[in-house]
């Protein structure tokens, strides 16, 4: 099959992302586009504004460590049970990135505003926190429909692209995502849509049944797609493969130092053939 929406590799997707772009990445359970992340590093992307929807792990640590990120907007950077984000911590200490610390629902709400293309959205909570104190782009107003009810406004987030990974695309480029609806929000909020990798393209039509249609991200929200087998590796992908714990242990050791991290990039990012095995 030949399709205009289907590119040869994740590197073709990464080539579309200009320096300075605002890109959204998702949580480890949502389908992380790790191969596209590695391709962005291979491309030497710079000055990215990384929006973690609403937090991220290894993908963010890699991009930060490789010097691709100027601004980081997130609610957390965490590997969960699998170690510490040393490159994130190092970049913060050096003042190498601008940090926009948030809370998860603030990023979700701002993306929802982005998907509606409205300029801002109100959100409960946050007032009186140091998160709000350090975000001059957030504003507190009096609820115009109530009395004595202060509420916080968040500016909309519209990334240029969302980077996502899904189990498969159908023959028309629709993606099966199951209930990982974060991917829908990320794709819809993005001006250009999602750059999607998939494990495979299947010669089926996801809209032929309500059961599959309900778990589908329609192709209209997708800018471009490429096949990347085990494209979320070393993070797991739903029912398809588990997290590669041994690899995370290796990363945790190497990423402690800048030299070790450079060796990691040489071995697992720049030589991608071996990494995929």
């Amino acid at each position: 099959m030949s399709h205009d929406w289907l590119q040869g590799s994740a590197d073709d997707l990464a080539a579309r992302v200009p320096d300075g772009a605002k890109i959204a990445i998702g949580v480890d359970t949502a389908g992380v586009a790790m191969e596209t992340t590695r391709a962005l590093i291979r491309r030497g992307a710079r000055d990215l504004h990384l929006v973690c929807a609403p937090m991220a792990g290894l993908a963010a640590d890699l991009l930060i460590g490789a010097g691709c990120v100027a601004t980081l907007e997130t609610s957390a950077i965490t590997f969960g049970e699998y170690g510490t984000a040393h490159r994130f911590h190092d970049a913060l200490k050096r003042g190498a990135i601008k940090l926009m610390d948030a809370t998860c629902p603030a990023i979700y709400a701002a993306l929802e505003a982005g998907a509606k293309d409205i300029p801002f959205i109100p959100l409960r909570g946050l007032i009186g926190s140091d998160l709000a104190a350090h975000r001059p782009d957030w504003k507190v107003i009096d609820n115009p429909f109530g009395e004595d009810d202060p509420i916080l406004l968040l500016p909309a987030i519209r990334p240029d692209y969302a980077l996502i990974h899904a189990p498969y695309a159908d023959r028309n480029g629709n993606l099966f995502i199951g209930r990982r609806r974060d991917l829908v929000l990320m794709a819809q909020a993005s001006r250009q849509g999602a750059l999607a990798t998939v494990e495979e393209v299947r010669d089926v039509d996801l809209f032929s049944s309500e059961e599959t249609a309900a778990g589908t991200l329609p192709a209209i929200y997708i800018a471009s797609t490429a096949v990347a087998v085990r494209g979320a590796w070393p993070i797991g992908l739903g029912d398809h493969y588990e997290v590669d714990e041994a690899h995370f242990r290796r990363y945790a050791e190497l990423a402690r130092t800048a030299d070790g991290f450079a060796r990691y990039l040489d071995e697992f990012v720049h030589r991608r053939r071996q990494a995929a095995e």
Binding site: V27, T29, A30, P54, M55, T74, S75, A76, I77, T78, G80, E81, Y82, A85, F88, H89, L92, K93, G95, L99, D101, A102, T103, C104, P105, A106, Y108, A109, E112, L123, R124, G125, L126, I127, G128, S129, D130, L131, A132, H134, D148, D149, P150, I151, R179, R180, R181, D182, V184, L185, G238, D239, E245
Partner: protein, 249 residues
Amino acid sequence: MNVSRQELLIHTVAGLLLPCRSVAVGASSPIPGAGALLARDWAAREIPSRRLFLTILGSRRHNSMTSGGVELFDMAAQGRLDAFFLGGGQIDGEANINLVGAGGTYPQTAVRWPGSFGSGYLYYLVPRVILFREEHTRRVLVPKVDFISAPGPRNDGVYRPGGPIGLLTNLCWFAFDRARRRFVLETVHPGHTVEEVHDNTGFDFDGAADVPTTALPDATALAAIRGPIARQIAEAYPRFVAQVFPNAA
């Protein structure tokens, strides 16, 4: 009967959650997750059987949401989430919590933690927030946090139907008195003393000099924790279960 620290905490969490209809457990929280699974198991054994809706973030099987990550926060806003767990690198005596970092000048803090997660929202909205932090030291339980990820309850006119009911640590359970904005020592875990709690707590708190001991799980609860509960939480926290319950599989 030998009860481990983790087993006591799981059992205590389950007791705190038992009145709930709906519970969610956030990131990096295997003990709260296991406690919630035990509470759900107890609710199911009531006559008539009662459902406890449970979502453990990071789990596919124990996740009763279908609208993406935003659903947890919308559910909290709708008043449909009774309990949630929050921790912190620092917690102070007014129940302000810090999940961001300590020392230095923000954002270049001397120590950096992952970040605030959902705390800056859920702390205001969920009626039974359980503060959970295993380490009970003066470095964690401080007079005043260096950064407020989420403020403790205060009379500032901000919409706040939620807040903390207390703080569970390796040493004790403190209830939180929202009107007085102070922690109250309620029970001390077996093998520990009130004096030890004072020595290791950096903030002032209330409570009698002689407080009860935290209840131990009975044999039935212990068997459940070590068997089916450990196996269920292993889906989201395999490393925790491998370390703490190596015989569960």
